[in-house]
Subunit: 151 residues, 3 copies
């Protein structure tokens, strides 16, 4: 599974599918690229030295899964608040909980080295359990996999 | 096939692929989740009791395939009108006709139970021929399938 | 691989995966549909006769891979300029170079006949190495393929 998008709704869909598949005994690898990386950022990351462009990206992009927003019905953030409220009321896991649960259940979470270079995201800024790989590793998992989806 | 998006252009692409594949003798299952559900809403649904949040979602989201819009070139709805006009002129089926044709030709259309709970969409509000299933059913069809795409 | 999107970031992701896979000895077919066609337009196309709707589409959509923009962080084009600048600084290929490299390495690039009819894009306006096919051809390649992704 490739997670390209950084939208809350698509992230939820990705982790529901991943957690569902792993609970059914499947091996799941998620390869995070571009905006998808944002949801793996630590909320309180260690300080590292960055150049000015890296700072700009870091500042403008949502830091951590807590801060993603919906792809539709933005309405100044109201749609996002509503969805999170309903999920809580229905006792669904939140996105950060889904990510923890995926890691706990053995979903392999990989990030794209090239995106990290491009956006100036350092490994220390991401959740600790994550492996950084190149596109060849992703293609190799896809070869061995029954289904590959791009979200 | 997972249909996550509620954009007119992506919906058309999804149904062209589905109808093409089924006409070539393939078995096709479409699993509708999140915004994708909107295109399966009845244009004139029966009245049901809803709470306030369900009412808000119901009011803000497009009701039925007639009312989807493009993901690009919105221009206050002009792009959508243009595309529909050209499709008509070229004697292409409209999206509602494509959906009917898919159902008629045996494409299996399933909706995601969890999304319906989340957005407060009741089964009575959706086209009659549709089955409501959980994510495990989708993963199971994907296992048996040659290709799974996420639109 | 289906390329539906016309966003710079998704186009880059598509060609990185395609070029990676082909360099690992895989056979890759990319089927371009809807907005994806824009990146295959020639920057200086020959003049052809068009009707008024075709002219409007041609005028409003980005002509060639040089002119795509990001799906996020538009900021009046600033995000796009930043990404292109970083890619250059890191000695990454630009999108037009990635497309040339894909063609050179034998990635098969196909465009959707129906989209071309719909948007009034003539074959002469697209890069020369490209084949125009119907959806059945795409489904056929997908049948023979280990993984099909929709970008």
């Amino acid at each position: 599974m490739v997670v390209f998008s950084g939208d809350l709704d698509k992230a939820i869909a990705a982790f529901i599918i991943a957690n569902g598949a792993v609970s059914m005994g499947h091996k799941v690898t998620m390869f995070f690229t571009f905006w998808g990386l944002n949801m793996l950022r630590k909320q309180h990351p260690p300080k590292v030295k960055k150049n000015i462009v890296e700072k700009m990206f870091g500042f403008m992009m949502p830091r951590s899964a807590e801060r993603l927003t919906l792809s539709k019905m933005g309405m100044g953030g109201l749609g996002t608040v509503m969805i999170k409220g309903i999920m809580k009321k229905k006792n669904m896991n939140s996105l950060p909980e889904m990510i923890q649960s995926a890691l706990y259940n053995g979903v392999q979470i990989q990030t794209c080295q090239m995106t990290m270079d491009l956006m100036g995201i350092r490994k220390e800024k991401l959740l600790d359990e994550i492996e950084t790989v190149g596109v060849a590793t992703f293609i190799h998992s896809s070869d061995e996999s029954n289904a590959t989806i791009f979200i």
